[in-house]
Assembly symmetry: C2
Amino acid sequence: MKIRDIGEIGLIKRISRKAKYGKSVVKGIGDDTAVLKWTKDKYLLYTCDMLVEDVHFKLPQATPYRIGHKALARNLSDIAAMGGKPKYALVSIALDPGKNVSFADGIYKGMSGLAKKFNLDIVGGDISRSKKLVIDVSVIGEVEKNRLTLRSGARPGDVIFITGLIGGSLKGKHLDFTPRLAEARRLVENFRISSMIDVSDGLLLDLRRVLDASSAGARIYENLIPLSAQARSFESGVSEGEDFELLFTMDKKEAGKFLRTEFAKMESGATLIGEVMNKSYGYKLIDKNGKQRKISTKGYLHF
Amino acid sequence: MKIRDIGEIGLIKRISRKAKYGKSVVKGIGDDTAVLKWTKDKYLLYTCDMLVEDVHFKLPQATPYRIGHKALARNLSDIAAMGGKPKYALVSIALDPGKNVSFADGIYKGMSGLAKKFNLDIVGGDISRSKKLVIDVSVIGEVEKNRLTLRSGARPGDVIFITGLIGGSLKGKHLDFTPRLAEARRLVENFRISSMIDVSDGLLLDLRRVLDASSAGARIYENLIPLSAQARSFESGVSEGEDFELLFTMDKKEAGKFLRTEFAKMESGATLIGEVMNKSYGYKLIDKNGKQRKISTKGYLHF
């Protein structure tokens, strides 16, 4: 049996089934970051993301600066999805020594600009050679215990929000996006967010992940979904991925408070797109004609 | 100017010159791991290492199990060099989906066996596709503040020890080695170790790193260096790298205590190979004929 036969999700399931954790591991494989016991009041967040040339970006559309930016920003988006703040990063990079020094400088600048903006320290890394550029960044963050937002907390009756606009990210946004750290902190500091995830593999697939983790169903509305003008179509917009927006849920009371107070102030914008249902309801889209359609998840998978 | 023109060390220097750290960073780029403030008594250690197919290993000599083992073991060797204990790891992997599932299983088994042995949790990771196999592992560890061993603490008059045997590792040991965690803990728990590093790029280059960090010189003796029977020659044995032994220094009084007590009990063995000198002395090898030779550093660099 080939790896592509069981697929990316199958491979992760296969590995995580075998994983056993010590007592200090609050959450291992299966959320946006690992969650580890740390201090009395805080958890440590720990995550990594690998970028591979010709898979996650193509040269020269992706400049070195944008590649560096994206490599770190993806991780920060994961920290945001847990309600946390980033603290430290390590960078492993494999590159072609035949490239100009300015190429390496550009990657570093793209990262360090973002690190400065979000007040985190790049404290080390590893350098190797490779024909194709590969960058893996890992990040340590922190979150107050009572502000941690997992995928698993969505409850029937909760409403579903998404920040920003969805779709068409591959036309450029995926290389320049600002991770929604400020928005995430605003949310967790002021509201009880029942679940949160960052949309990296497409809205439909990532919402499915929240529903699976929460043992719930959902109903979302085609005409509420904030499609970017860059999206080729509704279908591609909700499936293509690389949006790096936050998908989050709140109970109705909390949502009311949110809509009356912070909602209009969110820099990214935020849109109510549907509600969480019982698991038995399933996972459905209400299309523009008011017709219910079962969602067969489509999203970006590596294989 | 090309990256290969400034070389691996030049590139690291270029990046670390620009690096600025917050107050919680005890040590950033420039030691075996980053060192970060954590609790009252302990520091957090944070490191990563990337393995690239055809650079760090070749298929099929390297079985999936051995690749997985090595990918984690290299990081554990870095944690050992700081006197610490590993706690958590993340694994990013880019692989060819056309490979058998047993290939991925083997890599995982190689890692999880080692993780179990040293009581650390693999808490997450990232999967991507790539023609050539790339694995990047990052590890979080911890060390008591008073047991931290940096590269920078070697002082003139200190004696220099190395664990195990040096050279010929590429014939097989580099894929199967046991990181010297137990030895490192035995050392830091019982002695004042003035400096420590793991030998990954060759004894001569890695000792040079200790001397540079400590602003010191050194004299080592050709006939004291514990050369492996696998080494092709003395020259290659001290330069080839991938030994993953510990190189450490102690003052003479502490060394006396070590020689009288734990020395003979070290599972790996340990050998006294020379002494730390003033910086003005330089870095010299006393050859088999008693002649002093200046060491022009040779070691393994990626470019």
